[in-house]
């Protein structure tokens, strides 16, 4: 199903990914874990799209399927109309030149034995871009654009000689040096100090603007997603719960899970009497993993019979706005936070 406006750049069409829990491999009765359940969504050219959820929600899996660190078990992922779900060989390599990833942990995603120069020029070497001299120049430009300046001070450093924020900038430079069309940023600040996160966010915003990149930003914080993203999708245990323009999803959330994520954000400032939604059950109730709504076990507004038996359709509630909840239309309450209330990222 296509969205109303904007050209789609990347689309998921009924994409599922399963993992087998360890038991099976050891000869026991392994359980199949559904990481993504028939994910269908479009990411538009040039936008920053946010995928928001807890750990285990499948958000990282979605990112890894795009850059083909893993392969989908069902469904189709396509980029500008071309099916890329199961690309192989040279076509996969060509595709990877266009699609890059920034990982969560810059303490682990950089090779400790490679200098910054080697790290950032590696993608250029792999894809045989330019000669030695022009590669060095591209590396310097990339470092400059992520704020590692003057770049000459950094090119010969090794990861252990840099702070976490500087390492993550190197990782961003490495992802950007090939001038990709699409970048997946998987919780790029969760291992960094809160005060450094804002730096990284601003670099991503600037990159996106200056290079016209389409960006998938994966996060567990709706506040971070609101700052960066044009549109947001909220995902719970592999199922899309809510989708729409960032401000709309946050300020006029309709899904109880989105509301639970808003309630959970730490906040400070002149917040006034921010009304809580209280849609998250403290104690999880018995629920089936195969029938009914994925959020049933945690939902305080669920209808015990309906929600435990039927999967709510991901229906359009207004143009560009979709919610997977039987009671979406009845959720009239909007976010009451003041403009001077700040939220954790």
């Amino acid at each position: 199903m296509k969205e109303e406006t904007g050209t789609s750049f990347l689309s998921f069409d009924g994409v599922s990914k399963f993992y087998l829990s360890r038991g099976r491999m050891l000869g026991g009765s392994g359980r199949q874990v559904v990481a993504l359940n028939r994910l269908t969504l479009d990411i538009r050219k040039g936008e920053i799209f946010g995928l928001v959820g807890e750990s285990g929600s499948g958000k990282t899996t979605a990112g890894r399927l795009i850059v083909r660190l893993e392969e989908a078990d069902r469904g189709i992922i396509s980029v500008e109309g071309q099916d890329v779900t199961h690309l192989k060989g040279k076509r996969l390599k060509d595709f990877r030149k266009r699609v890059q990833m920034i990982f969560q942990d810059p303490y682990q995603s950089l090779n400790p034995q490679l200098s910054v120069l080697d790290t950032v020029s590696e993608p250029l070497l792999i894809h045989r871009v330019g000669d030695r001299l022009s590669r060095a120049e591209m590396v310097m430009n990339a470092l400059q654009s992520v704020g590692l300046s003057p770049p000459g001070d950094f090119v010969h450093r090794f990861p252990h000689q840099m702070s976490g924020g500087q390492r993550q900038r190197v990782a961003i430079a490495r992802a950007m040096v090939l001038r990709p069309d699409f970048v997946v940023a998987d919780e790029p600040t969760s291992m960094l100090d809160a005060s450094i996160s804002a730096q990284i966010f601003n670099i991503l915003l600037e990159m996106q603007k200056s290079l016209g990149i389409t960006l998938l930003f994966i996060t567990h914080s709706l506040a971070a997603a609101r700052y960066l993203c044009d549109r947001i999708a909220v995902i719970y245990r592999g199922n899309l719960m809510e989708l729409g323009p960032a401000d709309d999803v946050i300020q006029r959330s309709r899904h109880p899970y989105t509301r639970a994520l808003i309630d959970a954000l730490p906040k400070f400032g002149q917040c006034g009497e921010t009304e809580r939604f209280n849609t998250f059950l403290k104690a999880e109730r018995e629920s089936s993993s195969t029938v009914g709504c994925a959020f049933f076990g945690r939902c305080s507004i669920a209808n015990r019979i309906l929600c435990s038996q039927e999967v709510p359709p991901f229906k359009t509630v207004s143009p560009g706005r979709r919610v997977a909840c039987f009671f979406a239309e009845e959720q009239g309450k909007n976010l009451t936070a003041s403009k001077t209330c700040h939220y954790g990222i």
Partner: protein
Amino acid sequence: MALLEVEDLSIGYRTRLGLHRAVEGVSFSLEEGKSLGFVGESGCGKTTVGMSLMGLLPRNGEVLRGRVLFEGRDILSISEEELRLLRWKKISMIFQAAMNALNPVKKVADQISEAILAHSSSVSKAEASRQVEGLFQLVGVPKERMRDYPHQYSGGMKQRAVIAMALACKPRLIIADEPTTALDVIVQAQILEETRLLQEQLGISIIFISHDISIVADVCHDIGIMYAGELVEYGSREEVFDSPAHPYTRALLSSFPTLTGNREMLKPIPGEPPNLVDPPKGCRFRERCQEASHECSLISPAWTELFPRHKVRCIRFERKKGPQ
């Protein structure tokens, strides 16, 4: 009298490059039943302060100066044996990366009852086990999961178990070092809420250490902002959040977005903290400060009292107040 009184505490680490002055002249006090949050970037000395209160500085760490009075007794000068008796029974700690703080080959409940038995000889095994059951209930882990091993727990449950362990000997002070880092927003909110409730119910004093100022906002009565080993602002939660005085505090606060209104650009703090082997003279924040003036490199700012409890170390306030 305050439960904990820290005066002019300075701590250094001996390194190959020289003495790393991790904590410099930190003073604060904590009343019974109150909570205090220390906030600052990595390397600002907040964890070192916490570790020194437990007598757990690494081998190359050394208290250079200062006093730590706990219940009126200077715990920096007592013997290792006396300190061992104090630890867990009077002061306990929730460590950073709690998921690694549990012994993987022991049942969670056994680890906690072990802590109880080690510190009170009068308690029987059965009584310890009853106490553990109570603790599990208190921190919200189902009783059925007591006999599980740590790997069978989720991240949030492990964190709760570690909190239960910290509570096991009914301490008067808990030091919680980044207790929610690496947890998800929803679990984090639950843990913070639980910490706050426990603190109120049991009247325990808590020192909460975090790099994230938004986290301490809901939990702490008082906030101390640390930068490059020094305390630069100190006050009640309301004072620090509603009228932040130090440029560093204001910079920290402006790194967080809102959910409504215009999307204002966040203003991150430029640059990196200074090297503490050879800390800069004058104000340590001046190189990253938007409001720094020539004088900031000359003299080290002294404390200025803004309100009886709200104080700040910034030369701009000294100037405003004028000579005393």
